[in-house]
């Protein structure tokens, strides 16, 4: 049951069950053979009835799909989590300091730690944010940092998602589902709770209201029911007890933002927006956007409303900025980074490009601005044609790509058609930054369900697992 060469979350190299999975293993042995399969069917039925689905783009547009849910939890021991959480807090503090610096003094550029063009040529850099004061000087209020384990089990940060990271609703729903399916399992483990996340989120959002607003009105802004993450938008709005609005529900008058209600206009102070920068305000960004609110950016720049995350946060989570994050930790915090970065070759550098072209079959190549597991080459799994295709693309536009070694992602036992088998996983914890930086002990574990696959994205056949952080 071990996969040679990969760190397995449940078993060590000799195939022995790790300490924190022992109780699970003995529970599993007591289970009748078909129980897991029954429970998985039950989970599917329930998820469909609850409507916990995501909309699919492309050929099946308009359909709603379930994200496959795996019934075997991913368990993280308390000590491991503490280190991880400390590292995440450190990293997100540095990222926020970087964004604030970029839109104000630009010290890090003046000191030559990051080449200026890496920032200013970046599509996510928003000149209109220059000199704009945001509440609490915080930009990325909500970060969904993708973490993987490789080698001997050390944690690496793969991506800092600072724009509109999603998935937190699955973290919460997966836990509810596990408690419903396997209540007795929870008496064998002390699992840190996650269900206070919406409360933490609401408190954080209220804490970053514009100066002078004592009882802020918070709303969640969604692109609408056809967005793939619509379930999460409505879920979070409901859990926080705030309105879920679309662009058409808001308007700006006298630099204040209002929502149209059955009792007339009502002031809005904090907008947790799940709409990308480009679509926020047709007057400031894409004029063809029907999702946005004309005049929103003026109101925002005037400090009348808080947008969360701040406009322009994406400048810090771009793959071309990613290699500099450890330097940011040193520069802004004067600390050594706790979490590793994955070594990254920047193909815009001739030396790096040469190395990448010479080692394509071993590397993972990603588009600098890509997301969702699209536009990506996984060398070891690619065909000869795919590699040739990427070689041509790299030679034509090297600046659009970065490359990383193919990480031996850790595996976690997963219930698949053939029974219980190891599958590769990642982890997305959610970091909230307001007056302080907070993390719920948990996150979303995504699992690549296809044997050998390293792509965990739900749009590419990935599933999810409940993530248990054990209490000390």
């Amino acid at each position: 049951m071990t996969t040679t060469g990969f760190y397995d979350e449940m078993r060590d190299g000799a195939g022995r069950v790790r300490e924190h999975y022992k109780a699970y293993q003995s529970w599993l042995e007591e289970m009748p053979a078909d129980r897991l399969s029954q429970k998985r069917t039950e989970a599917d039925t329930l998820f469909r009835r609850y409507g916990i689905t995501f909309a699919v783009y492309g050929e099946d547009a308009g359909k709603e799909r379930l994200i496959p849910f795996d019934v075997i939890p991913r368990i993280i021991p308390a000590g491991e989590w503490q280190l991880l959480a400390t590292g995440l807090r450190q990293r997100v503090r540095a990222l926020n300091a970087f964004i604030a610096d970029i839109y104000h003094d630009q010290n890090i550029l003046a000191e030559g730690r990051i080449p200026r063009e890496q920032v200013f040529d970046n599509a996510q850099y928003r000149p209109i944010m220059k000199g704009v004061k945001v509440a609490g000087d915080i930009y990325a209020h909500i970060a969904g940092v993708d973490v993987v384990r490789a080698g001997e089990g050390e944690y690496y940060v793969l991506e800092d998602n600072l724009r509109v990271p999603s998935g937190v609703s699955y973290m919460l729903e997966n836990r509810k589902m596990m408690m419903r399916l396997f209540p007795r399992l929870f008496s064998r483990y002390r699992v840190a709770p996650v269900d206070h996340y919406p409360d933490m989120l609401l408190n954080m959002l209220r804490s970053v209201a514009p100066v002078g607003v004592t009882d802020p009105t918070v709303v969640v802004l969604t692109p609408g029911v056809y967005n793939s993450a619509y379930f999460e938008h409505s879920f979070l709005a409901q859990q926080m007890g705030v309105e879920l609005v679309e662009g058409q529900d808001l308007f700006v008058e006298g630099e204040h933002v209002f929502m149209r209600t059955t009792r007339g206009p009502q002031r809005v102070d904090v907008i947790y927006r799940r709409v990308d920068d480009d679509f926020l305000d047709p007057l400031a960004f894409r004029p063809d956007s029907a999702l946005g609110v004309p005049g929103l950016i003026d109101a925002y720049r005037a400090g009348r409303v808080t947008l969360s995350n701040a406009v322009g946060s994406g400048v810090a989570d771009d793959k071309s900025i990613y290699p500099y994050v450890p330097d940011m930790v040193r520069f802004y915090l004067g600390e050594e980074p706790i979490l590793h970065n994955v070594p990254t070759w920047m193909c815009r550098k001739p030396d790096d490009l040469a190395h990448v072209l010479a080692h394509l079959p071993e590397l993972v190549v990603k588009e600098v601005h890509g997301a969702g597991g699209y536009g990506m080459l996984v060398g070891p799994a690619a065909t000869r044609e795919e590699i040739a295709d990427f070689r041509a693309r790299l030679e034509a536009h090297p600046e659009r790509y970065i490359a990383q070694p193919t990480l031996a992602l850790s595996t976690c036992p997963t219930f698949v058609d053939a029974g219980i088998a190891p599958r590769h996983v990642d982890l997305r914890p959610f970091v909230l930054s307001g007056e302080e930086v907070q993390i719920v002990a948990g996150g979303l574990t995504r699992v690549a369900l296809r044997e050998g696959s390293l792509v965990v994205n739900s749009s590419q056949g990935g599933g999810t697992k409940d993530t248990w952080v054990l209490e000390a």
């Binding site: 029911v225 309105e243 879920l244 679309e246 058409q248 529900d249 008058e253 149209r260 209600t261």
Partner: protein, 317 residues
């Protein structure tokens, strides 16, 4: 509450109520078709069903002639029929989906699972299991939805707009049911109590779940004018026009805003006219004329509610 949210809630409730009433109408026709009758009578009855909902034209585009199976298919599954039960239940689900955060999870799951089941139904299945079973299912999903609404929703604006939608739609449907049956059962020149068939009137009562109620209230034979009185003026009869307008008016007063005074006044006026109205006067002046007028008033109220509450109110207003 957001105007858009109120709009979705209102239409969610209207479509649920519409699905239920269509099931009721179809069920009655189906039951009546089991009694001895001529081909012409049967066609007339199915044609009347289409007339109730103002769907004769739309039906004509899909089907050449009126038959039990064709009408059933059109009214239950008709893709081009905006009022088919399938389309209504889909609209319920889509409206609920758009505001699922405002609904209790039980209410959302009711709408969602109703649609999941409906989308799997086929005409063959309905025939196999017995069409009445299917109509029963639709009615009970509506009962369930209403019960979950009242049993779980906070008594705030969201509930008010749901209730307004339910009762405005029901008022409209009750009037249509009465009108068509009245015309059908009382052909020109015929007097009340004449050839009008007991079975037909009792079927009409059953379509609004009022057969037993009639017996309790009147303890007498079924006459057309009493049926009309029960369906229009009896405020204690849950599907009567009087009851519906009472609810619409009461709920409107609870969501009142700066511009809604005239809408409330018109709803109040209608309620009062029903409360103090007499059935002899209505019958004397012609029931059909009365129904046409009342339907127009309901439509006017619907438009005014949309203007006052549901359409995004521009800041300039």
């Amino acid at each position: 509450m957001l105007s858009r949210t109120a709009d979705h809630l209102y239409w969610m409730a209207r479509y649920m109520e519409r699905a239920e009433n269509i099931a009721r109408i179809l069920d009655v026709n189906h039951r009546m078709s089991l009694m001895p009758q001529s081909q012409a009578q049967a066609e007339q009855a199915w044609g009347a069903t289409l007339r109730i909902m103002g769907l004769e034209k739309a039906f004509g585009q899909d089907h050449a002639e009126v038959s039990a199976d064709a009408v059933l298919d059109f009214m239950v599954f008709g893709k081009n029929n905006p009022a088919s039960i399938r389309n209504c239940l889909h609209a319920v689900r889509e409206n609920a989906h758009a505001v699922r955060g405002t609904l209790t999870s039980e209410l959302w799951e009711t709408a969602n699972s109703t649609w999941i089941k409906m989308s799997a139904y086929t005409l063959e299945q309905i025939h196999d299991a017995g069409v009445s079973d299917f109509f029963e299912w639709v009615k009970f999903r509506s009962h369930l939805s209403r019960g979950v609404t009242i049993g779980t929703m906070l008594q705030d604006e969201a509930l008010r707009f749901i209730r307004i939608g339910t009762f405005l739609e029901r008022a409209d449907n009750t009037l249509r049911i009465l009108d068509v049956k009245y015309q059908l059962l009382l052909p020109a020149g015929e007097v009340e109590g004449g050839a009008a068939d007991y079975h037909q009137w009792s079927a009409l009562l059953r379509s609004v779940s009022a057969f037993e109620v009639y017996r309790r209230v009147y303890r007498d034979v079924i006459t057309p004018s009493r049926v009309a009185e029960l369906m229009l003026l009896r405020a204690d009869m849950p599907r009567s026009l009087a009851r519906c307008m009472k609810e619409v008016h009461a709920n409107l007063r609870l969501v009142s805003n700066d511009q809604s005074a005239e809408t409330e006044r018109r709803a109040g006026l209608m309620e009062a006219m029903l409360r103090f109205g007499r059935i002899d006067a209505i019958v004397r002046e012609g029931l059909h004329n009365y129904v046409v007028q009342a339907l127009a008033q309901i439509q006017d109220l619907g438009n005014r509610i949309a203007d006052d509450f549901l359409l995004p109110v521009s800041s300039a207003r």
